[in-house]
Structure formats: structure tokens, C-alpha cells
């Protein structure tokens, strides 16, 4: 024996490791063992290879690296004896996975072993193949496995069947080779073979519609018979599980029947009897029986409609739901979730029980129940349910509050037809769990508040009250501070008092106090403090008498260590001191936000600093330049928690203040905005009939000119159509142009690009039209046009896009969020892409979400086929 190899046996090593008192000690032992094993491997020590690998496996389970032992597995597999192969294959499955290239080296040994005369060695090889084979190996060894499906010993056949599952999952093309063999496995008597054969058929159906058709036609009858036999079979000790013969086989048969019955009335019809029998006869006092019932219910729900069976199924779920066993309740909730799409009415009957489950002590059950309840909420029951949920919010666990809050907010927003109700509920949520409320949710709340002009007074008073009782919830403080700033006068003067309100007396001093509390509260973060400063500035104009006091508070923050707050304080202080005249104009109430703009912004990438054209300062309405520019865009953006206001954001300010829709102004003024009408010249040519002749003429001119001199056209594009055509267009175009200049003349700035069908599915088409601005070749303007190809209207349509780092993307709001059915109108949305590595191909990942028939649909796609030179 060589002096370096470790003499310790596996058992001794395990003892030594277990004797370790600290992790460091354990590491030391493992290190020593690993060193010895490596030495032994280098010696190519055959006697201890077996033992070394066993040790390595143990070390691997403990989580230490063992890659150096991978080759040892291969060597052991290649040796002749069964014991070596057995441990070698075990090591292979433990130490390697399908992604390691070393695995390829084993293909040959596997092939030999699959053809070995000893059936146990064949079994080992099949096991390894089934557990870790890669796609390449699957392809190489598939013929062997196919052959083994007919092996004489059933234990090999069952292994081969499961191995085939792995193969067809890795290489779906191979599925058709297995269809016939799989079908013949269904006729077997051996349970192991039957179970695996049924499983193989189910997986074949998933990857191949051909297989599905085949099994549906040829095997449904036989499967029903097999299921009947097993259901009615007498007691057999070998397969008995708490009084039921082979529940695993039951479940697999039911699963396959489900796949065959789905979408096929004929096949469904053939299995109804046996399903009814299983649903009524199965004992439900043991887990095994419940597992079968659960599977049976799912099959009943999935196959083609049979009213009677469905009632049976829903009743079983009802029974499950009232079961004392948590496991059974969990699966009941799980299944009811699927049942909501089939029979919402029946599920609604269990609403009270489900609501109880939301309050369960078990996190898994709570989560399921909440998801289910979320689906059950409708116009009629939303108010009591939300009331219950909000009450529960007060007492729920901290970990659950996040989920619960998100769901409540989403529901309240979804059913927010009554604004006062929406505001009330949101205030409750904010006071209970404001720290769990996401930014976009409270942004949306502010948006709704500012739009509900008749509720301003009510809201600000309610917020003030809530604020007095709880200042712990960050988002509540923010919304309250914002509203007090905006509507402080209404708070003090009790403007817009509603009948339901209790009268409240708030002095100007109280209002300022509240904001001061917010700013001094040490838990307030930067955003809250910044918002409080703005509120103070606003209040200084609303309450002239408190002006001095407010100034005092602002001055206190002049020395703030946070640059953002310091800057704001200094700027505001200047306004208060030097610009009394314009102050009131500056801090007027925020204009009501346009709904489309808001939802567009919410959807699109909210840019931290919108880059707008230069020359904005000259547009300032009242001659104030720098000081006020920083905070005011923030008022709208509500995201001041980032960098100190970038100077370029000054451009936003006048537009925002004036309530101008941002979308058209975003395109730099020098270039003019991209044409609203489709610039796809080819499309225009084809649709001559539907367009004005004038327009056809001008786009035709563009076609011609784009092949000639693009720049000339670009420079002239700002001229009128009359001026353009004589220069570029052929005389024929003059004829057309003679009818008068088109009102919608598309401007081709720069090159013409072929438009692109960026995405097309059975339900939706997205076209991209490209244009460039002269002088900035890196920037591409994309007009996306969405067309609905289905016969249902899409609501809440939302387009999102993401690009890699070398690109910059800006999304303008979409023209609408409702997409009419069957191509009857479209939504357009402008995108601006700046390519920092001009010349590199664009890529974009898009995600489109919409609602149709009350169902959320999400489509995603990567777009790689952009034209070059964008």
C-alpha cells in the first residue's frame, strides 16, 4: 500500500467528521481526506478507488467540492465487476449533472452496459441515463432504450419507460419513435411497468399531438378498463396502501385520462362512468384515498363538460375545505382556484370558509386562500370582503402583510368606481400597513385624489386625522404631507364638508405642525422629508400668517447634511425672501393629471431625468429660472428620492406646470415629432384606396426620394409639401400634389426603413415603423402599432420594453389602453431608442399585457430582427 493513500475506512471517516465540534474542525478533516483521496487518485490506486468514491460522495452531500473525483466514476463504470459499476454509477449521478462535459465520456460505457448480459447492470445504466442524461446522450442512446422497452424482465421495462420520458423531454423530436412501444406497455399486468408506461404516455401527449391523438383513439377504452379493474380489485397485500390497491396507479391513470379527455367530448364521455365511480366509492378517511379523490376531481374539472360530475367534484372540494386536516384544506383551496373559471358561482358559496382560511395560522394555507379569494371578488361582494381583509390586516403576521396589502390595494383599485370608497379604503390600508404599500400604489392614490376635486377637502381632513393617530407608516405620512401641502386651506376652512364627516377644527398652526412632525420625524426618509419641504413652501403661500414660522422651519434645514434637502431648503428660502410676488403663482395647486399620461407613465419606463430639448428656460412662464426647477418636476414625478435635481430637468418644469401632455414635446423640437400617420411607405402604397390621394402622392414621393438623396429631403422636410414635390418628385407626383398639400404629410427624416412585424401571435400583431432624426444617427424613433387579431376587445393594454445596456430606451404614453377587436382600430406608441454603439444591431425584449374576457394575458418576446444601422 502506498504511504500517501488514506488508510481510513469510509465508516471511520464518517465518524471523524461527526466527532467534529465546529465547522472549522469539520473543514480540516474533510480537507485532509480530500488530499488523501487526490493522492490516491494520482497514484491510480485501483484497490481503493471504490472506497475513495464512497467517501467523496459523503463529502459531496456535506456540500464540499468534489469535481476531482469525476473521472474516478468513469473508471469504475468502465471496470467489469458489478460492485464497481454500482458505486461508479451512483457516484456519476451524485457528482455530475447533465451540464458537465465529462459526462459525454460515459456515453460509450453506457451503451455497452445497456447491452450487457447481466440485467442488473442494464438496470444501473438505465437509471443513470434516466437521471442525468443530456440531450446529446439522449439522441445517441435512444435506440437502446427503445429496444429495452421490450426486454424480458419487467423491472428493466419499467426503467426503460421512465428513461424514455427523460429522452423525449430532452429531445421532443424522438417522441414518435416511442408511441407504439408506450401503447403496448399499457396492456401489461405488472404494476411497475403499468405505472411507468402510463406516465410515459402522459409525457408523450405533452410533447406530441400525434401521440395524443393516437392514444385517445386506441387506448382510452383500455385505460378505462384498467382503472375499473384496479378500483374493483380485491385486497392484494403487495400493493395495498391503507385499504386501497395501488393508489399510485389510480392517480396516474386518472392523470392520463384527463389529458385524453381534455378537449374531446367523445373520449370524455367514455370515462364519465368510471370517474363517477371513483368519486363516490373512494374512502376519504386516509391520505391515499384523498389523493385519489383530489386527482379525480381535477380530471372531472378538466374533461369536457358534464354537469352532474362537476357538481360531484365541487361537493368533494367543499368537503375537503371543511376537513380538519390542513393538507386537505390546502389542496381544496388549490383546486377551487382552478374551479373558479368553470363554476364561479359554486365556489362563491364557500367564500366565508375561504375567508377564514385567509386568517389561518398556516402560511401556506393563507397564501393559497388569499389568491383564491382574490379571484372571487366581484362588484357585488367587494365591499364586505375588503372590509374583512382590512380588519384582518391589523392583526396579521408581519410576513403576511406584504402579500395581503398588495392584494387589497390591487382589488381596491380594480373596483374603484366610487372614488370616496377607494380613498377611504386606501387610507385604512395606509394607516395599517403603509410600510408595505408599493410606490406605484400610493402614486396612484395621489393621482385619484387630485382628480377628485369634490373630495379634496374630505380627503385632506381624513388624512390629517389618520396622520395624528399613526405616524409610523411612511407612505401614509407622504400622502398626508402631499395633501396638506396642496389642500391645506381646505383643511383649515373645512371646505367641501361632506355629511358623513365629523366636524374638525384645525388651525393653520396645526397644519404646519403636522408637516413639521413629518420633517423632524427621525424615521422619515429622504423622499418624505423632501415632500414635506415642498408642502411647507406651498403652505407658506396658503397661510400667509404662518409664513414666518414656515420660513423658520425651512431655514433649519439649510444646514442639512443631505445635499438634496439642503439644496431645497436654500432654494425655497430664496423664494420666500426674494420672490414674494411670484410665490403664489409658483406654488399653485397641481394641475389635474391627464389619465392617459398617468397610466402611460406608470406603464412605461419612468425616466429619472427626462432628457428634453434645450431652450426650455426661455419657455418659463414667469421668468424664474433655476431655483424652483428642482422640486417642481418632483411634485409630479413623486420620485424625488434620487439624485439632486439634474439641471436638464428644468425642461420638464414648465411643461408639467402648465399641464402639457409630455408626449409630443419629448421629441426634440428641432426635428419635429414623428409623423402620426403610418410612415410605412409600402403599406401606404398598398392602401391607396383608403387614403387621401394627396397622402399617397407624398409618400410615393418619399419612396423615390429615399433612393436618391436622403439628406436633401431631410433638410427640406420642414418645408411645405408644395415646396418638396417640385424638387424631388417626378412630374406625375406633381399632378397628385396639385390637389393641394396633405394635412398629414409624413415627414421622412433621414433614411427610410422598412417597417417590421416585430411580433405576431394568433391574437396580436405589433408593427414597428422606424425613422431617424437628421443629425442624430444614433437615435431611432420607433412607432409601434398594435393590432388586435382576435375577436375580443383588449382592455388595460400595456406594452413594456427592455433593452440591453448599450441602448437607451424612452417610451411615450400609448395612444389608448383599449384595443378594439378584429383589427378594428389600433393603438400606437412611440419609442425612442438611442444606440450608444451605433452600428450594433438592436435587440429588445417586449412584454405585452392586457385583459380579455376578464382574463389577464401576458405575451413576451425578444425582437432580434431589427434592420441594420439603427
Amino acid at each position: 500500500m502506498n504511504p500517501f493513500s488514506s488508510g481510513t475506512r469510509l465508516r471511520d471517516m464518517i465518524r471523524a467528521i461527526r466527532a467534529c465540534k465546529t465547522a472549522a474542525e469539520e473543514r480540516a478533516v474533510v480537507r485532509k481526506e480530500c488530499a488523501a483521496i487526490r493522492a490516491s487518485i494520482n497514484e491510480d490506486d485501483q484497490d481503493y478507488r471504490h472506497r475513495n468514491l464512497a467517501k467523496l460522495m459523503f463529502i459531496q452531500i456535506l456540500g464540499y467540492p468534489t469535481h476531482f473525483g469525476q473521472m474516478e466514476c468513469l473508471k469504475l463504470i468502465a471496470s467489469a465487476g458489478f460492485p464497481e459499476k454500482r458505486i461508479g454509477y451512483l457516484g456519476l449521478m451524485l457528482l455530475l449533472d447533465e451540464r458537465q462535459e465529462v459526462l459525454m465520456l460515459v456515453t460509450n460505457s453506457l451503451k455497452q452496459d445497456l447491452n450487457h448480459s447481466n440485467q442488473y447492470i442494464v438496470g444501473l445504466a438505465l437509471c443513470a441515463l434516466g437521471n442525468i442524461c443530456s440531450a446529446e446522450m439522449a439522441r445517441d442512446l435512444s435506440p437502446e432504450v427503445e429496444r429495452l422497452l421490450q426486454f424480458r424482465d419487467p423491472n428493466i421495462r419499467k426503467k426503460a419507460a421512465l428513461c424514455s420520458i427523460r429522452i423525449i423531454k430532452k429531445v421532443p423530436d424522438l417522441a414518435e419513435n416511442f408511441i407504439n412501444c408506450a401503447a403496448s406497455l399499457l396492456k401489461e399486468k405488472h404494476h411497475g411497468v403499468l405505472i411507468t408506461g402510463v406516465q410515459l404516455c402522459a409525457d408523450l401527449c405533452k410533447v406530441s399531438s400525434e401521440a395524443l391523438e393516437y392514444f385517445r383513439k386506441k387506448c382510452t377504452e383500455g385505460l378505462v378498463r384498467t382503472l375499473r379493474d384496479i378500483v374493483n380489485s380485491p385486497y392484494s397485500p403487495e400493493y395495498d396502501t391503507s385499504g386501497i390497491t395501488d393508489p399510485y396507479l389510480h392517480i396516474r391513470l386518472l392523470k392520463l385520462l384527463r389529458i385524453l379527455g381534455q378537449g374531446d367530448a367523445d373520449a370524455s364521455d367514455r370515462m364519465t362512468d368510471i370517474l363517477a365511480q371513483v368519486a363516490t366509492k373512494t374512502e376519504s378517511n386516509k391520505n391515499a384515498g384523498n389523493a385519489i379523490l383530489y386527482e379525480c376531481v381535477e380530471t372531472i374539472m378538466s374533461i369536457e363538460d358534464d354537469g352532474g360530475l362537476r357538481v360531484l367534484a365541487i361537493n368533494i372540494l367543499g368537503k375537503f375545505l371543511s376537513n380538519r386536516d390542513n393538507n386537505i384544506r390546502y389542496v381544496a383551496l388549490n383546486m377551487l382556484m382552478r374551479a373558479t373559471t368553470l363554476d364561479a358561482q359554486a365556489v362563491q358559496r364557500h367564500r366565508a370558509t375561504i375567508l377564514d382560511c385567509v386568517k389561518d395560522s398556516d402560511a401556506s394555507i393563507r397564501k393559497r386562500a388569499l389568491e383564491l379569494l382574490y379571484l372571487l371578488v366581484n362588484e357585488n361582494n367587494v365591499k364586505p370582503l375588503i372590509k374583512e381583509l382590512i380588519e384582518y390586516l391589523e392583526v396579521s403576521d408581519q410576513e403576511f402583510k406584504g402579500d395581503l396589502t398588495a392584494k387589497i390595494c390591487s382589488l381596491v383599485e380594480k373596483f374603484s368606481s366610487e372614488k370616496i370608497w377607494y380613498i377611504d379604503q386606501m387610507l385604512k390600508v395606509l394607516s395599517e400597513a403603509g410600510n408595505f404599500v408599493k410606490d406605484e400604489v400610493w402614486h396612484a392614490l395621489i393621482f385619484v385624489i387630485s382628480n377628485a376635486s369634490d373630495l379634496h377637502g374630505y380627503t385632506v381632513r381624513a388624512l390629517y386625522r389618520a396622520f395624528l393617530t399613526s405616524t409610523e407608516q411612511e407612505t401614509l405620512v407622504r400622502v398626508a404631507v402631499w395633501c396638506i401641502g396642496e389642500y391645506g386651506d381646505m383643511l383649515v376652512n373645512n371646505v367641501g364638508m361632506l355629511d358623513i364627516e365629523d366636524p374638525i377644527t384645525v388651525t393653520e398652526c396645526d397644519a404646519v405642525d403636522a408637516v413639521e412632525v413629518a420633517i423632524k420625524r427621525h424615521t422619515s426618509d429622504l423622499t418624505t422629508k423632501a415632500m414635506a419641504l415642498i408642502a411647507l413652501l406651498k403652505l407658506s403661500s396658503r397661510f400667509p400668517s404662518s409664513s414666518e414660522r414656515i420660513k423658520g422651519i425651512i431655514v433649519q434645514n439649510k444646514g442639512n447634511l443631505v445635499l438634496e434637502l439642503q439644496q431645497r431648503s436654500i432654494e425655497f428660502n430664496r423664494i420666500l425672501q426674494k420672490h414674494q410676488k411670484i410665490r403664489s403663482a409658483l406654488v399653485e395647486r397641481m394641475p389635474v393629471l391627464d389619465e392617459a399620461t398617468f397610466s402611460g407613465r406608470r406603464a412605461g419606463s419612468l425616466p429619472t431625468a427626462i432628457s428634453t430639448s434645450s431652450g426650455a428656460p426661455s419657455n418659463l412662464p414667469n421668468g424664474i429660472a433655476k431655483p424652483a426647477t428642482a422640486p417642481i418636476p418632483d411634485l409630479l414625478d413623486l420620485s424625488s428620492d434620487d439624485v439632486p435635481a439634474p439641471s436638464s430637468s428644468g425642461g420638464d418644469f414648465p411643461q408639467d406646470l402648465l399641464g402639457v401632455d409630455l408626449s409630443p414635446t419629448l421629441a426634440p423640437s428641432g426635428a419635429g415629432k414623428p409623423p402620426k400617420a403610418s410612415t410605412d411607405v409600402l403599406l401606404d402604397l398598398l392602401s391607396i384606396g383608403t387614403y387621401l390621394p394627396v397622402q399617397t402622392g407624398s409618400s410615393a414621393a418619399d419612396i423615390l426620394s429615399s433612393s436618391q438623396d436622403d439628406k436633401a429631403l431631410a433638410s427640406l422636410s420642414s418645408l411645405s409639401a408644395n415646396a418638396t414635390s417640385p424638387v424631388n418628385a417626378a412630374p406625375m407626383m406633381d399632378l397628385l400634389d396639385g390637389h393641394g398639400p396633405g394635412p398629414q404629410k409624413p415627414k421622412e427624416n433621414g433614411q427610410a426603413y422598412q417597417s417590421l412585424v416585430a411580433y405576431e401571435s394568433s391574437s396580436l400583431r405589433v408593427m414597428f415603423n422606424f425613422s431617424k432624426q437628421p443629425g442624430s444617427p444614433q437615435t431611432t424613433l420607433i412607432q409601434a402599432t398594435f393590432t388586435n387579431l382576435s375577436s375580443n376587445v383588449y382592455n388595460d393594454f400595456l406594452f413594456q420594453a427592455a433593452v440591453p445596456k448599450f441602448l437607451q430606451l424612452h417610451l411615450d404614453p400609448a395612444s389608448s389602453n383599449t384595443l378594439p377587436a378584429s383589427g378594428d382600430g389600433s393603438i400606437t406608441q412611440n419609442l425612442k431608442v438611442t444606440n450608444s454603439q451605433h452600428g450594433k444591431l438592436l435587440v429588445m425584449r417586449v412584454r405585452i399585457a392586457y385583459k380579455t374576457n376578464n382574463k389577464d394575458v401576458l405575451e413576451e418576446r425578444q425582437i432580434n430582427n431589427f434592420p441594420q444601422n439603427l
Binding site: 456540500g63 460492485p83 423491472n155 389523493a291 390542513n326 401556506s364
Partner: protein, 161 residues
């Protein structure tokens, strides 16, 4: 499909892992740490299922050991509980009232049994007797090979004496 099987002791020590879907070593460590934290902290009367990263983990505690199996969303949780029990019963029969120490010192045997029970993440055999028979047959193959090897070495030893 079962994506992986984990056996974790009450102290959070891993006793057996089997991965039917590819997870890198790093991911495996992370999965074990994450799930160990979730499962070991759950109370005794709660349900045996945990939602985890879009999958479901079914676990059951037997004495000091937690048996966990990760399955797809649409798999039958109750059946997996039954499979876990099936596995435990086979182990019990093989070792003769199995305990954690059996699984530590004979981890490879536990693996051999698991390999006769599950393959490619699917159940392979519903009969405990068949599994026991197959394992016994293979064990005896190993024994015979060992005996042969020792008798050959005896012969050589005697011949060279």
C-alpha cells in the same frame, strides 16, 4: 415531476440529496439553505406543503429527519406525501426500524433504494416487496463478487507462500 429529494435533519444537516433537474453546486447549497430555513421553522400542526419559487415542496417529518420533495405546481401533493411514506417504509424494512444513523453510515444504500423507487423524477415501483427483492438481489451480487475476490487473493496468497 419530482425535481429533487432532500433529507434534512432537525439540526439542518443534509443527510441525502438527489437532483433530478440540473442545479449547479452553488444553486444546490442555496436551495438547501433556503428550504431548510423555511421547513424547519414550520410548526408541527401545519400543512406539509410549502410554496417555493413557483414550485411546491412537500415535506414530512419522521423522527429527527425531514423528507422533502420538490414538485411542479400541477402535481398531486397528497400523492407525493404517500410516496415519501412509501420510501420510508421501504427503508424501514431494509434497515429494520431505520434511524438517522443508519442513513448516515449507509447513505449509499439509501441511494440504491431511492434509485429503485424513483427514476427521472417519477415513481418507478409501487410494490415495497419488489423494491426489497431487487435490492437484495443486487446486494447478493456484490457479496458474491467480494467472496470471489477474497478467495482468489487467498489462492494467490497460498500459491506464493
Amino acid at each position: 415531476m419530482i425535481h429533487f429529494v432532500l433529507l434534512i435533519s432537525r439540526q439542518g444537516k443534509v443527510r441525502l440529496t438527489k437532483w433530478y433537474s440540473p442545479y449547479s453546486q452553488k444553486e444546490r447549497t442555496k436551495v438547501i439553505r433556503e428550504l431548510g430555513g423555511v421547513i424547519l421553522n414550520r410548526g408541527p400542526k401545519l400543512c406539509n406543503f410549502v410554496d417555493w419559487r413557483g414550485f411546491k415542496v412537500v415535506y414530512k417529518r419522521y423522527a429527527s429527519l425531514y423528507f422533502c420533495m420538490c414538485i411542479d405546481q400541477d402535481d398531486n401533493e397528497l400523492e407525493v406525501l404517500e410516496i415519501i411514506h412509501h420510501f420510508v417504509e421501504i427503508l424501514d424494512r431494509y434497515f429494520g426500524s431505520v434511524c438517522e444513523l443508519d442513513l448516515i453510515f449507509n447513505f449509499h444504500k439509501a441511494y440504491y433504494i431511492l434509485d429503485e423507487l424513483l427514476l427521472a423524477g417519477e415513481l418507478q415501483e409501487s410494490s415495497k416487496k419488489t423494491v426489497a427483492r431487487l435490492i437484495a438481489a443486487q446486494d447478493s451480487l456484490v457479496e458474491t463478487a467480494k467472496e470471489q475476490a477474497s478467495s482468489i487473493s487467498n489462492i494467490i496468497a497460498q500459491a506464493t507462500k
